[in-house]
């Protein structure tokens, strides 16, 4: 399984290397994103707002973590979809499906490269923030952040597989992805604390994994919280993955069978 995942990673890396300018532009794009957040935070920061965050941090740090780590949700949702879309378009889906590698392994392995690239992008975001805009990284509990991140990716992967099941069946226009990203953006606390939402929405926010992911990540990176303090967020994310991964696998297996019955597996 690992050697196959590496084969996918090497494939995607070789293809990406053939587009050399894209990577350089991505580093530059990250700089513009971080700079925009910094000046926005200077504009909106007030004494009251600053007191809402852990000592030594501010709205810039809060928003940068939200912005950088919300991407893990969007990539989890798009990585599986994109692997199917691209493979359908260049005709490699059928060629892969007649090998002994099951589609679930193909999907999981296809996501390896996007996640590594995303990790690099996150590091670039945080590095720009720390180097130029006083993002506080000294207090961070990096081990705790990695644990929250892994638990988050597992929980988001379940949502990604549901989204891909829709794509397998209906080819394009993915309301599952739109709904998940939209609701998570509104309720998950990406750009503002969940506590500013009306109470019913705060309650709804507790039902989506990204809320726990961003909470845990901010605690680990900005407040340097220990593993005991991070446990409630990690526990919630493990619970989400425990439910979403088996459920999404069942939905995916059903969707795959439907497309094999209808003969639309390679249609796009």
């Amino acid at each position: 399984m690992l050697r196959k995942a590496f084969a996918f990673f090497r494939r995607d890396l070789t293809i990406a290397r053939s587009y050399r300018m894209a990577f350089a532009l991505e580093i530059l794009e990250a700089f513009f994103g971080v700079a925009t957040f910094y000046y926005l935070s200077r504009f909106v920061s007030t004494g009251q707002l600053t007191r809402a965050f852990p000592p030594g941090t501010d709205y810039f740090a809060f928003a940068l973590v939200g912005f950088a780590f919300f991407d893990y949700l969007t990539v989890s949702l798009s990585a599986f979809d994109n692997s199917i879309i691209e493979a359908r378009q260049n005709g490699t889906l059928e060629a892969m499906l007649v090998t002994e590698t099951p589609l679930t392994v193909i999907l999981a392995s296809s996501a390896s490269y996007p996640f590594v690239v995303l990790a690099l992008r996150t590091i670039i975001y945080l590095a720009w923030g720390a180097l130029l805009f006083h993002f506080p990284i000294r207090a961070a509990n990096w081990l705790g952040a990695v644990i929250v991140l892994i638990a988050s990716i597992l929980a988001f992967a379940g949502l990604g597989i549901v989204s891909t099941s829709y794509l397998l069946l209906f080819k394009r226009g993915n309301p599952a992805r739109w709904l998940i990203v939209g609701a998570s953006g509104l309720l998950g606390g990406m750009m503002y604390p969940v506590s500013v939402l009306p109470r019913p929405l705060q309650w709804l926010a507790r039902l989506i994994p990204v809320t726990y992911s961003l909470e845990g990540m901010r605690q680990a990176l900005l407040a340097g919280a220990g593993l005991i303090q991070l446990w409630p967020s990690v526990r919630a994310l493990i619970l989400f993955s425990g439910i979403l991964l088996p459920l999404s696998s069942l939905i995916f297996a059903w969707a795959l069978r439907r497309t094999k019955i209808a003969g639309t597996l390679t249609h796009f």
């Binding site: 084969a7 005709g91 060629a95 090998t99 002994e100 590698t101 019955i261």
Partner: protein, 269 residues
């Protein structure tokens, strides 16, 4: 008598009728009413070459795709190398090589070598073993001249050869080929037929089921011919047996007579 590598019993495949507009919205999973295969039964012996022939839309590709586990049959069953295509699909895929009629299915920005390396890994071939197999198929299919070129720069015929090489990379015991020589030049097609007959079938004992419209190729390669017409199996015999049964001088004549006979039988029903 040799065991059968492919067993097809009463196989049927129906597709849903494509819906448009509000009908598609209200009924996304329409019933399977469009027949593609109906009551097809035959066997392919181990180490034999069987040709699937028939007009466009007769069900040849559908049958090959069911055997390749890309489609689920509506009824009946099929076994490849002793495994059920529906219930034991992973085991079936480990035994077969499949070459689709549509040229392509490669990563254009990777070289031919990098593509083969990737698909070798998909078939659990890594490191030295993968390198040896790639070298082997490179020699057999004459890929050396363009092995390090990006696939997007190759001609249709070269991509086709690469596709055939990929299908044989893991030395499958059963090879399913949909129009294997379609895009090849006459010399390459002739070389491939010779290689298929002598190397794959006679030396390695590979079982081959291929679809083709080229009757000369069918006559040269096939031990048996399965004729499909509108999704039904009209005849399955050796080329000589088909000619004898119809009193025809050529295979083409024999097929014309068999197809006509089938259509007349349908009308009289």
């Amino acid at each position: 008598m040799q065991a059968s590598a492919i067993v097809i019993e009463d196989l049927g495949k129906y597709f849903p009728v494509a819906q448009r507009g509000w009908r598609a919205l209200l009924n996304p999973f329409s019933p399977l009413t469009q027949p593609a295969l109906s009551g097809v039964s035959f066997q392919v012996e181990s180490g034999a070459v069987t040709a699937l022939i028939g007009a466009n839309g007769s069900g040849k590709s559908t049958l090959l795709r069911i055997l390749a586990t890309l489609l689920v049959p509506t009824r009946g069953r099929a076994r490849v190398a002793g495994y059920d295509v529906e219930r034991e699909a992973p085991q079936v895929r480990a035994q077969l090589g499949f070459h689709s009629a549509t040229d392509g299915g490669f990563y254009g920005r990777l070289t031919a070598h990098e593509n083969l390396d990737f698909f070798a890994a998909m078939n659990s071939l890594f490191g030295r073993q993968a390198a040896e197999r790639i070298e082997e198929v490179t020699e057999l299919m004459g890929l050396a001249a363009f092995l390090e070129s990006q696939v997007r720069t190759l001609s249709t015929g070269q991509v086709h050869r690469l596709g055939l090489a990929r299908a044989m990379l893991h030395r499958p015991s059963v090879l399913l080929l949909d129009e294997p020589t379609r895009s090849l030049d006459p010399m390459a097609a002739s070389d491939f037929r010779r290689f298929l007959r002598t190397e794959l079938v006679e030396r390695r004992g590979t079982t081959v089921l291929f679809a083709s419209h080229a009757l000369a190729e069918v006559e040269q390669l096939a031990d048996r011919v399965a004729l499909l017409d509108s999704g039904r199996l009209v005849a399955c015999d050796s080329p000589w047996g088909l000619r004898r049964a119809t009193g025809a001088a050529t295979l083409e004549q024999a097929l014309e007579r068999l197809t006509l006979r089938g259509q007349q039988a349908e009308v009289s029903l």
